[in-house]
Subunit: 111 residues, 2 copies
C-alpha cells in the first residue's frame, strides 16, 4: 500500500510583499552563526550581493533584523538585532507547531 | 504599523513523488464541473496534453481518480471516481482546517 505525506511551505507576507520564508530564515541563522553577511552568503552558495539585498529587503519590512558593523580589522561584520532573533525564533516556532499538526494529519490520509 | 500575514502552501506527496497540490485539485474540480478533460484544460488555459499527463500521474499514484469515457456523440468525457471525489474533499478539508489555524496565528505575529 502506498504511503502519503502531507507537506507545507510556510512564509510571512508583509502588506507590500513577502517578508520572511525559510530561505531568509536560514540566511539570518547563518549570519548569526558566522558573524557576517559575506560568510553567511558563502555557506549558502549565494552571492554577497543577493544576500545583502535580502537583508535590505527584510530590514525595510520590519524593525531592522540585521545590524551591519563597519570597519574593524576584519572588515564589517553583521549581527542579528533583537528583532532579528525574535523573527527567527517566531518563524521556527510556527514551523514546528504546524509540522506537528501535519505529521498527525499525515497518518490519517488515505487514497 | 505594518501588518503581517502567515501563508502556507499545502501539498501531498506519495512515496515516489508529488501526488496532489492545489493545481491538481483545481483540475479535478474543473473535470467534475465540465465533464471532460478537454474542457477542464481549456478553462485553466492549460494544454490538453498537460492536463492529461497530470491525470495519468494522479491515477498512477492512487486508486484512479478520473475515469475517461470513450465514444458517444460528444467524444469522450471524463468523470471523477469516488476516490477522486474523496481526494478533492480531503484536500479542501485539510486546507480549510490549516487556514483557520494560520488565520488565528496571523493575528498574533508582530515584528
Amino acid at each position: 500500500m502506498k504511503k502519503y505525506a502531507l507537506r507545507i511551505r510556510i512564509w510571512i507576507d508583509e502588506d507590500d510583499g513577502p517578508f520572511l520564508g525559510i530561505g531568509r530564515v536560514i540566511l539570518l541563522e547563518n549570519i548569526k552563526e558566522t558573524g557576517s553577511i559575506t560568510n553567511a552568503a558563502k555557506s549558502m552558495k549565494m552571492s554577497y550581493r543577493q544576500a545583502w539585498q535580502l537583508v535590505e529587503d527584510m530590514n525595510k519590512r520590519a524593525s531592522p533584523l540585521v545590524e551591519k558593523m563597519s570597519g574593524g580589522k576584519k572588515g564589517g561584520g553583521a549581527i542579528l538585532t533583537e528583532a532579528g532573533e525574535n523573527a527567527v525564533r517566531e518563524f521556527r516556532n510556527i514551523e514546528q507547531e504546524l509540522n506537528l499538526i501535519i505529521a498527525n494529519k499525515s497518518k490519517t490520509i488515505k487514497f
